[in-house]
Subunit: 396 residues, 2 copies
């Protein structure tokens, strides 16, 4: 499933190719987030034009609406949303937790260049919220209608197989970054037992196959001993690849992520869950990750925050009204090739839907172009030079 093309000397990083039933993914790669079987505001043709190779959809959301059975009947997610390239689904665990247990508690898995903004919750509080975690699985209430649902590792496998993505994830418990170490350990061990149940389910007759890859998720928070224990355990179970879960700030990438990747088997792909800011991508690759997903590039785009090689700009700033050049000169994206900053800012001020489309295209192109440049630099042996130049130019 995974082939390494070239490694970064004296580093965990590498460029490679992941093969899936719907085509290859040249890594490092950014996975465009298409939560509800749509990358917000884009058609699949537009997604492809941004250089995206793979789309992630969310098991939790699609299970609730329209339901995985309808999607299966249509022929799976690819047909449902008209995307012919590779796809991933997450396990549903994170949303069952964040939209269940943590719902309304300002607890968010906000990742990237900003510090985590969370409220402390003790384990008991988590237990009393909308999700209830037991050895068997997670009971949660729908964000749509408050109805009760129960996800188990086996249920997550069934839903994901019905959705029909190329890469699916084992059901895991994503804990609060402020949970106690004791609770983190308990949740991690439960995640390990769930991982074994997912593999058993996936390997049972009629369940796996079709070239679909099941990835195990490593947890363990910010504790070195837990991360290493989790990486060792998950490595030994026979997954096709790995996801690194949890809540990360930039500082965690060279620690928690590195600890894990030093242990995970080199020959299998590693996905860093929920990370996708430019600097984090560079640090993530350097520390051994191959693929990344994150809502930030698309969500920020919809708020008018656009990437440039010098950092983010807010296109709603009044000065852009009169700027008759593209958002970034030399950018090859559809937006920059065809529209001025003045027009894009006009669409935002006018609250026009095309604003989100043009901004999303720009940000996704920027991120895809960045990972593509990282790949090229690895292949040509100039990663360090590229890395240092980018980090020297890009201002947070």
């Amino acid at each position: 499933m995974f082939q390494i093309n070239k490694k970064i000397p004296k580093s965990l990083g590498r460029a490679g190719i992941i093969s899936t039933p719907h085509g290859e993914i040249q890594t490092p790669a950014f996975v465009a987030v298409g939560t509800k079987a749509t990358v917000k505001s884009l058609t699949p043709e537009q997604i492809k034009e941004t250089g995206s190779q793979i789309v992630l959809a969310n098991t939790y959301h699609l299970y609730l609406e329209p339901g995985e059975k309808i999607i299966k009947k249509i022929g799976g997610l690819h047909k449902f949303m008209n995307w012919s390239g590779p796809m991933m689904t997450d396990s549903g665990g994170f949303q069952a937790f964040s939209l269940g247990a943590a719902y309304g508690n300002k607890l968010s898995k906000f990742i990237g260049i900003e510090k985590l903004k969370v409220e402390k919750l003790n384990d008991l509080e988590i237990e009393n919220k909308r999700a209830k975690i037991t050895e068997d699985g997670v009971e949660f209430r729908s964000i749509i209608d408050g109805s009760k649902h129960f996800f188990t590792p086996e249920k997550s496998m069934q839903i994901q197989r019905d959705l029909g993505a190329d890469i699916i994830f084992a059901f895991d418990e994503c804990t609060s970054p402020h949970a106690s170490k004791d609770y983190l350990k308990e949740a991690m061990e439960r995640t390990h037992r769930w991982a074994e149940r997912c593999l058993a389910c996936f390997s049972s007759p009629g369940q796996g196959g079709g070239g679909v890859g099941l990835f195990g998720i490593v947890q363990g928070g910010r504790y070195e001993d837990l991360r290493k224990e989790s990486a060792k355990k998950i490595s030994g179970l026979g997954f096709e690849g790995f996801g690194i879960g949890g809540s990360f700030v930039k500082e965690d990438i060279a620690t928690a992520v590195k600890w894990v990747n030093e242990i995970l088997p080199e020959e299998k792909p590693r996905h860093l869950l929920g990370v996708g800011e430019p600097i984090d991508l560079i640090l993530g690759v350097e520390n051994g990750c191959d693929t990344f997903d994150c809502v930030a590039p698309t969500r920020m785009a919809r708020n008018g925050s656009l990437y440039t090689s010098k950092g983010k700009i807010n296109i709603l700033n009044s000065k852009y009204k009169n700027i008759l050049k593209s958002v970034e000169e030399g950018c090859g994206c559809y937006t920059c090739q065809n529209y001025t900053s003045s027009y894009v800012s006009h669409l935002f001020r006018s609250k026009e839907m095309l604003a989100a489309t043009l901004a999303t295209i720009h940000n996704l192109y920027f991120i895809n172009n960045l990972v593509s440049q990282i790949r090229e630099s690895i292949l040509s042996g100039t990663f360090q030079k590229f890395r240092n130049k980018f980090l020297g130019t890009y201002k947070i």
Copy 2:
């Protein structure tokens, strides 16, 4: 500027070609409404794919935001919004009135298959509202910031020339459909004087030219004598084409519109302002109109109301969740070629932006395909057959 290809026997209707600096328009044609220099939720490439030949932008909105001078600096509307085909701008008169005088009074120019839903306003009330009409022009307040502005015929010409559309309209006063006949007559006569001022301004050195066509607007409400007087007066002034203004319900097309088109010179194109529902298009062509603009197809699309050959459907109806066929079988639009009703309804239920895009593409394609079929039927001498079949099948 206008060439007639073929006429409908014993009728005012015809198929023709309007030539503009940005290409030809095969008529009858529907003009896609791009109020703020964007057809809501679509890129120009998507607009073109629906079969749209021409886009209308609104003078009032673009004057307020971003301002016509910025658009002129970029090289005009075509460059600003990246649309290379023909364009129209309206005169700004209707919005100065409807968003000024009538603002907040439930007075709307709702046109088409529904009855006008209006509150009676007498002339005095109109005078006291946010717009003030004098012989010189209209004073109104911005819907954006409440600031005061003054449109005159000359100002409308200057703004429209700066915007740079291919077909522009003379500044007119669009009255309430419930205004008294006396007031209608007064407003119509003022519109005639404004028309002469627009022509004088457009003809003055450095103002006209470039192959841009100035269209005069016929008013007169639902009164036969006023409509005929207006058509005669406007016909004699030397415009390149005509707009038929006012508020129409279906019943008015065979009366008010017909009265006008029996008088307007056959060799010039006629645009019916604000009309675009399927049945109205057929009646409009039959009664001598060549082009039409209307927000209905795109606005309804954003609300989940989609055209089919049997009438409109509401894709939010729960039954569509399980319909694995396209919105209309055999429809050649991008949406029907690539997505099921189930997916489109999922996007609407999920409040995803792609819902508006896919629905708008479908509705615009439907309307463009309808006018294209009308044209073909005129050219092949089968208009009556096509008309009767369509009216027999399409249910309001």
